[in-house]
Symmetry: C2
Subunit: 215 residues, 2 copies
Amino acid sequence: MLQSSKSDHIPKATITRLAIYIQVLTNLKKENVEVISSAKLARACDVNPSQIRKDLAYFGEFGVRGVGYFVSDLINFIKHALGIDRVWNCALVGVGNLGRALLRHNDFALHGFLIQGAFDCDPYKIGENIEGLEVICTRQLKDKVTSLNLEMGLITTPPERAQRATNYLVDAGISGIINFTPTRITVPDHVFVEYIDFFPHFYHIASQLHFGTHK
Amino acid sequence: MLQSSKSDHIPKATITRLAIYIQVLTNLKKENVEVISSAKLARACDVNPSQIRKDLAYFGEFGVRGVGYFVSDLINFIKHALGIDRVWNCALVGVGNLGRALLRHNDFALHGFLIQGAFDCDPYKIGENIEGLEVICTRQLKDKVTSLNLEMGLITTPPERAQRATNYLVDAGISGIINFTPTRITVPDHVFVEYIDFFPHFYHIASQLHFGTHK
DNA sequence: ATAAATTTGTTACAAAAAATAACTATCGTA
DNA sequence: TACGATAGTTATTTTTTGTAACAAATTTAT
């Protein structure tokens, strides 16, 4: 595959910032700003200018020296670099509390992450319709991954079933997983996993309020 | 305030691990394990034994040398240390997509974080009933914070209104905020903020699948 | 009662990640 | 053609995180 990537490992912090850059750049575009320098963008994003240049450099060369970056094109460039200039079909496994919440949260769709399949092994849930999506037996995951072209898996089962859900996903050929359960899962080397857990954030705030520590 | 805290700054990574310890310890308790050493707990949690001892040390001394930790008491100790051995009343500001999803996601309640007030400034939403909770005008936030004893704020507005929501919360005397919008907010020194944003995680997976990079 | 074994709390060290600064190359303009 | 502006790159520093080593305390065995 030919691509402009220069570096294999992209720091997490970079990805987080890229999301911010996109946001700020989109606003700039609305205000008809056409070109912006790393220095000005840095001010708007509240980061260091070198930081921005370095973040972008992971994906190749794009700015014009002596000029800056073309706002509109830069947005596209970043989106393409992140692989979010297209739609990703997702499978959600575990139609519990959180699963339902995510199914109803259509911001994902707005960002190009379409939850196209909802899976659960509970016979009482199978067949249920949530937001126009029918809950399907997890055993059919493999078939559906093929027929619906699902590429990413979201795990929202109870923690003790996370590994099983993982196995189903991996077996079905999914190699990108976002695990919303507070459990580590083990996967083969070619599979990528991200963990999302709210509670540590809540705990952090709770402990700070509790102790009244100061910054 | 008298307490066992030894250190002001508790690393984020520590809090994340403490959440894991609680989980594993709770399982151990179910299996009637009464005492456990840092070495064994470490194996169960897949971390380094020193790590565990150090993590706990932030909150004071609790284990018994030559013996280990008493499982049941350690759970309570950690919960107390984190300030999660009690209920926290939360205000949710912004009854959009995500806001509704969170209101319906009762896992928060199970962990002691009760969303007791839902606020929005959209007249069409005010008065609406979600999960037994009436949506209230944001201008009434201050009153409700007092009467309902709300201590934490969750921001789920559109990003461009996050700062305004923040101001309302701060003005109402809230000093712990969890910001679910992809925007930085500015707060006075005594206010603690945590950021939760799904999309960088999605982006990360997307980019890895996109590039097919390897670990 | 004493020594050995165990295991914590603490400190010192090492590694990794991230941020910043400094430098070099390129572009546009006067 | 030279100068100012600004990107790309490399080097350095800082911060964060994790690991290892060791002294202090406790229990168990002799």
